[in-house]
């Protein structure tokens, strides 16, 4: 697959091809799911597999090494990955989102972010525990503490929510933040959603994103790239980044339930669970629920893309 990663061949990559690559990873993710939970973050091997499969680059701007697809393809991939491992799918959805988000920043910030490699990774932190902003020449001096920053252990950069008027997001390189290992959770155990701390780091003006403008779809990304999702207000669709892997996880649970029921002989009675009508109902109802969730998401995304194309 590495051979496919030359930039020239990317235009041939379709959403279908990306979903196929994600499907090929599902058995591997299942196998590593326990290890991922024990590590409490994504195994390096899985991160590398995502890089190799170009998952990180799905919606990355083409001029920055992206494969030329948009966020709707990210969600199709996340649906697939979710069948294998929830935490991995969570990051399989977030990493490409973050590389899409970088496109919202000023050109100067993007140049810095992608200076070393088109495979640069980042995480976001939205939940601000403390935050101190001091004016500094050409930017701000930032200190703060954020929690729930999924995948932060693998991040070269962090996008940190900065309260204020207007609210903003600061793009901060690895050398300027620390990670606190706090992620001991009952679910998404492997997402590595640790805390981030910044101690008095200088953030130049060009690395601060005005989130009010981003929320309304007025960003550099719209000017520079103009693809459908850069035209849409962020808040209209950002939550699908969380929903898509969850729908995939539900699909995986339905599949696991089906497998379990096929093999199960019930306790003392010796009856086959696969023959119990109640189990048929549970299976039918749960798979219909997941199908409905997937269809709702796809139909909403289609509507959004139509609006973006129509320039509404």
């Amino acid at each position: 697959m590495a051979a496919n990663r030359s930039k020239d061949s990317f235009p041939s990559i379709t959403a279908t091809e990306m979903v196929k690559r994600a499907a090929a990873l599902v058995p591997v993710l299942r196998e590593r799911a326990g290890e991922c939970e024990t590590l409490r973050r994504i195994p390096d091997q899985t991160r590398d597999d995502f890089v190799q499969a170009d998952i990180m680059r799905i919606s990355q701007p083409v001029s920055r090494g992206g494969v030329g697809l948009d966020m709707d393809s990210v969600y199709e991939v996340a649906l697939e990955l979710g069948r294998g491992c929830g935490s991995s799918a969570w990051m399989g959805s977030f990493w490409p989102l973050h590389n899409w988000m970088i496109g919202l920043w000023s050109k100067a910030a993007q140049d810095e972010y992608w200076a070393k490699s088109p495979d640069t990774l980042s995480s976001t932190a939205w939940d601000t525990l403390t935050c101190k902003v001091e004016p500094a020449s050409g930017g701000i001096r930032l200190s703060g503490h954020w929690d729930f920053s999924s995948g932060i252990d693998h991040a070269d950069w962090a996008m940190l929510f900065v309260p204020g008027n207007p609210v903003g997001m600061a793009l901060v390189p690895r050398k300027d933040f620390r990670v606190l290992d706090t992620w001991h959770a009952t679910g998404l155990c492997g997402s590595g959603s640790n805390d981030v701390v910044v101690d008095s780091a200088f953030v130049p003006e060009h690395r601060i994103l005005n989130m009010e403008n981003a929320g309304n779809g007025r960003t550099a990304g719209r000017e520079l790239y103009g693809t459908p999702f850069y035209k849409l207000p962020l808040w209209m669709w950002l939550s699908y980044s969380l929903a898509a892997p969850v729908i995939g996880m539900a699909q995986g649970a339905v599949e696991s339930f089906e497998d379990l029921m096929r093999g199960r002989i019930e306790g003392l009675s010796g009856a086959r669970a696969a023959e119990r009508p109640a189990n048929h109902l549970r299976l039918a109802e749960s798979s219909a629920e997941v199908d409905a969730a997937r269809m709702l998401m796809r139909s909403n995304l289609r509507q959004l893309i139509e609006w973006a194309d129509a320039g509404v």
Binding site: F148, H184, A185, T186, G187, E266, G267, L268, S269, R276, A278, N279, R282
Partner: protein
Amino acid sequence: MNISSISSRAASPDASDWLDEAEVAKLTPAMLVERAREIRDLAASFAQEAERMRRPADAVISAMRRAGIFYHFVPARYGGREFGLQTFIDIVTTVAEGCASSAWVMSFYMQHNLLLSQFPLQAQEEIFSKYPYVLAPVTTAPPGKAVPVDGGYRLSGYWKYTSGVVHANWLMLAAFVERNNVPAEMRLFMLPVEQARVIDKWYVDGLAATGSQDVAVDNLIVPEHLSMEFEKIRSGVGHGKEMQQSHLFSLAVDVLLNVSSSSPAIGAARACVGHFRKRLLERSPIGADGKPDIRPSSMARLAEATLAAETAELLLREAADRAEAAARARQTLTAEQRLRIRSHIVYAVKHAKKAVQIVSDAAGTSAHSLDNPIQRAVRDVVMISSHTVYDWDIAMDLLGRVLTDTVSENMLLHHSAGQVG
């Protein structure tokens, strides 16, 4: 291995923390409930560590022993107290407020002393003369194999989910007796815990601290008197009522087992709702009237979760009362009557699960941190609900069949047998 060598290998009693006669005589229900509160707080302080160890904390089991909890159901003729089911529920739900895993193990330890009284007198005399109480897990699934031999049975099998095995001194294992190479009736066999191999496969997401490991026995000779027909134990018509005065020894054992296994869920749900209430009070901004300004939707959730937890407890207590009333009247309940009572306990557990799920839906991400008692209660209650007797589909199918008079005795047997342990 012959029978006499077995009896000489009996578990060596650890007498260091047994209560003396005067101390046992002074125990009252209120005193045990008071001590249960102390055990609750101790168990809560060990809850996360015990989950990491995947077994109950030694200090917590030790505190239960020293508190005299395990004399509760021991026959008075062997020095026990014969306290009733409502006190039992008080004690177990209270400890479950701090740690459902600890309460789960304690509940079965307590109640299996009552089960032992259904065994032949010789077994009771032999065991209770050396031990003031037993810590004896019961496990039935999958049933083992017992072949009749001179003076007893040759027992083999591999049993799963032996809750309490970590701190046990005895074990009760179910097996089908093979006659002419065909499995016939099911019996329960008692053996010192040292005679079984323990296999630790307890890696789970709920009741994680119970240490409910697997056990195996290969061609072990168990004397006749240390075994008992399972069906007679289950319906409470073993040797208990022949020899003991109290109505407790006429109780339908399958109902009793439901009380044992549901009480930890009820206590955990009660505590979970309490933690949620505290969280709302502490985390909401203070309004203009100086009171916490709690979101209306959170208020509604708190109210609904509280009602669900209270309903669960009422259902359980009422079911226990019905079983005790029948036992007092020396009435032997039919399998169907017992199922009707047990269905109320199944419904109680459903309400406990509803209570914790309402809380879980509203308590936010930080409630899922491993040191937060809310998430532990949610996992523990969901785990208890997964127990075969609380499987909603199976339970409703069975009750439906009882209501339409289309149930078979075999179905009832399988269902109530599945819950032991």
